[in-house]
């Protein structure tokens, strides 16, 4: 598996922690993770996606983030992208995702 994924919830903030390559093969896992979180959507107002240990991001990953954004928006939950760096930051910059998420 090229990616490890886990999520935690603390109060009204949920976090999805990604490790490794964020690409098409992560599609199902990513969706399972956020759907789990959104099951308790009424108690959550923020989802942070942590990229600290992500070394690769492609356009299918961007697509997955867009899906998450749409689902979260239905429940008025905001999505933030945290700890982006290196190649990942570059891809997000060119994609101007800072217009769609709070990126840090």
């Amino acid at each position: 598996m090229s990616m490890n994924m886990a999520h935690t919830v603390s109060g009204n903030i949920a976090s999805i922690i990604l490790k490794g390559r964020f690409d098409f093969s992560c599609h199902r896992d990513f969706r399972n993770n956020y759907e789990e979180i959104l099951k308790n959507g009424t108690t959550i107002d923020t989802i942070n996606v942590d990229f600290k240990e992500v070394n690769y991001l492609d356009s299918s990953a961007l697509g997955m983030l867009l899906l998450l954004r749409e689902r979260a928006a239905e429940l008025k939950i905001s999505v933030n992208l945290h700890h982006v760096h290196g190649a990942v930051k570059q891809v997000l910059d060119v994609a101007n995702f800072n217009r769609l998420f709070t990126v840090s």
């Binding site: 356009s59 299918s60 961007l62 697509g63 997955m64 867009l66 899906l67 749409e70 060119v94 994609a95 101007n96 995702f97 217009r99 769609l100």
Partner: protein
């Protein structure tokens, strides 16, 4: 679990054969026999048994050789072979299994064990059959998918080829990934001597990518032909893709409009790597970064469709590429990278740039293809001397002659601030002209005249822009930015346009009358200047209009312009 098997028994001792055969039949299976290796192989070929019980020591061909041949004949189908051997050593058992046998029983055979082994082999064989069936189905799906991929790419190529015309402007190279990965390069001539270009990179691969990008291509060609601004094209593309495609699919695109005569470039870049303007020496004079998300993501109210403009004052090339290029990974995992690319571009002559980068990429990838399409494009932007406009002035008519013409039809349009701000007026008018049957030659010239007069009215009469600003270095960009700002904040103002078709069945005219609500200007002195001999940033337009029309004049306070465009019957 009582499916009847056909079991082949191979042994050179007749008593053994008979003994095993009787047992096998008692278990409910069919037993066929062979008395040596060669016979065993022949029998296997003829009868296709489900299981083989093979003696090892036989004269002529032994059990190992026979098993090896039988396995070859069985091919993809798994037929278990159980050795029945008098050789009891572990060594012999290992040898038997190494030589291709699936199990090994020592003689004298314990019948209960044999029965159990046969059942076990049967279970495994069933499982194997299921897996084979799955594999075959998968093959079928894969083959179908291959066919669909090719079809999608075929359609895409055909659509593009049907629209493309030869031009000396675009030079490009694409290295497709194993499956089409969404890169598309299209260009077309737009009315008013403009050249439009788009490099699109759709998400996905194969069929998905092709489907994603097809509507975008049709919109590009359609709107370009009708004279829409690149800004309108970007906006329409965004809306269409957002509407038609699922959320996770988008198209990174670089849209470019080039005016070869005015030497101006408008670029809209959403999601693609930087586009560069490089001069002959290799210096980068302008960079266009991706300043917004790709097409199909933002809703219309948040979408910024303003392009960035640039006016070139020395010859150069626009260079662009899809992200497949800098991200191209060599077999040992190294990316091609921007530094390497910049290095090549800056140290190579313009005509050799595509070739040089192509060579470098192939070297880097060791002549394999990448995971993503790789596209590179250069657009040539030479310096064109514009004084050859007005070389063939149209013969002038005098007013009394024209007055003898009847008005066949008249189109009047009054546009106030709200429309001036939000509508793309010129394609709208051009659309009417198309409906009214103007041919290609007239169509593009009339478009130029309409364009000049309308833009003059808007720029000077309504937005109070000063053309002198364009003469300063970077002035053109500043002018365009200020114009866009003033236009978006426009509260008052009116532009009226009348198009009237005057005919006497021998020679016809299209009279174009534009009036703006501004203060006008002192046109009497201005008209006395001979602008065709100067390279004037602002006066060129009127010179062009005069060269294409039988008559042109300003009226009123200078806030009205009337042009008479001739349409001669042969």
């Amino acid at each position: 679990m009582s499916k009847q098997l056909t079991i082949l028994i191979v042994d050179d001792t007749p008593e053994n054969v008979e003994f095993i055969q009787r047992f096998v039949v008692a278990l409910g299976h069919i037993g066929i026999t062979a008395s040596n290796g060669l016979e065993g192989v022949e029998s296997f070929k003829e009868n296709s048994p489900d299981l083989v019980l093979m003696d090892v020591m036989m004269p002529g061909m032994d059990g190992y050789e026979a098993t090896s041949r039988i396995k070859k004949i069985a091919g993809d189908k798994w037929v278990p072979v159980i050795f029945l051997s008098a050789l009891t050593d572990d060594f012999d058992q290992v040898k038997g299994l190494d030589m291709g046998g699936d199990d090994y029983l020592t003689k004298p055979v314990h019948l209960a064990v044999l029965a159990a082994k046969i059942s076990a082999m049967q279970r495994i064989a069933e499982m194997q059959k299921k897996l084979s069936a799955y594999a075959a189905e998968l093959e079928l799906y894969r083959d179908n998918t291959e066919i669909e991929q090719h079809l999608a790419k075929h359609l895409l190529d055909r659509i593009i080829r049907s629209h493309q015309t030869d031009n000396k402007i675009v030079d490009s190279w694409t290295l497709p990934a194993a499956h089409f990965s969404g890169d598309v390069i299209v260009s077309a001539a737009a009315p008013g001597n403009k050249f439009y270009f788009m490099l699109a990179d759709a998400t996905g691969h194969g069929l998905a990518a092709a489907i994603n990008v097809l509507p975008a291509i049709e919109v590009f060609y359609g709107m370009t032909e009708r004279g829409f601004s690149i800004s309108s094209v970007a906006r329409e593309l965004n809306n269409k893709i957002k509407l038609l495609m699922p959320t996770e699919r988008f198209i990174a695109a670089t849209l470019i409009s080039i005016d070869m005569i005015e030497h101006t470039i408008e670029v809209w870049n959403g999601g693609n790597p930087d586009a560069l303007f490089i001069n002959v020496k290799g210096e980068i004079l302008r960079k266009w970064k991706s300043s917004q998300p790709a097409l199909g993501i933002l809703s219309d109210d948040l979408f910024d469709h303003q392009p960035e403009v640039f006016k070139w004052t020395e010859a150069g090339q626009i260079f662009l590429c899809s992200d497949g290029l800098p991200e191209a990974e060599s077999p040992d995992g190294e990316v091609f990278g921007w530094e390497r690319l910049s290095g090549i571009l800056l140290s190579t002559a313009p005509s050799r740039r595509i070739g040089a980068v192509t060579e470098a990429v192939n070297l880097h990838l060791k002549n394999k293809s990448g995971k993503d399409d790789i596209s590179l494009v250069t657009l040539n932007c030479p310096i064109v001397i514009s004084s050859n406009i007005g070389v063939n002035p149209v013969s002038k008519k005098d007013e009394t002659e024209v007055a003898a013409h009847l008005s066949e039809w008249k189109l009047s349009l009054v546009l106030s601030a709200a429309q001036l701000k939000s509508l793309d007026i010129l394609p709208f008018l051009l659309g009417w002209l198309d409906q009214l049957g103007f041919t290609n030659e007239h169509r593009s010239k009339i478009f130029v005249v309409l364009s000049e007069l309308f833009n003059n009215a808007l720029d000077h009469g309504i937005l109070h822009m000063d053309s002198k600003l364009k003469a300063a270095p970077d002035g053109f960009e500043q002018f365009m930015n200020m114009r866009a700002e003033r236009l978006s904040g426009l509260a008052e103002g009116k532009v009226e346009m009348d198009l009237e078709y005057l005919s006497n069945k021998r020679n016809d005219f299209l009279q174009i009358h534009v009036r703006d609500s501004g203060d006008g200007f002192d046109y009497h002195n201005w008209m006395k200047r001979d602008v065709s001999s100067e390279i004037v940033p602002s006066g060129r337009g009127i010179a062009l209009v005069k060269s294409m029309c039988s008559d042109f004049k300003f009226m009123g306070t200078g806030n009205e312009a009337v042009a008479l465009y001739p349409i001669d019957y042969p």
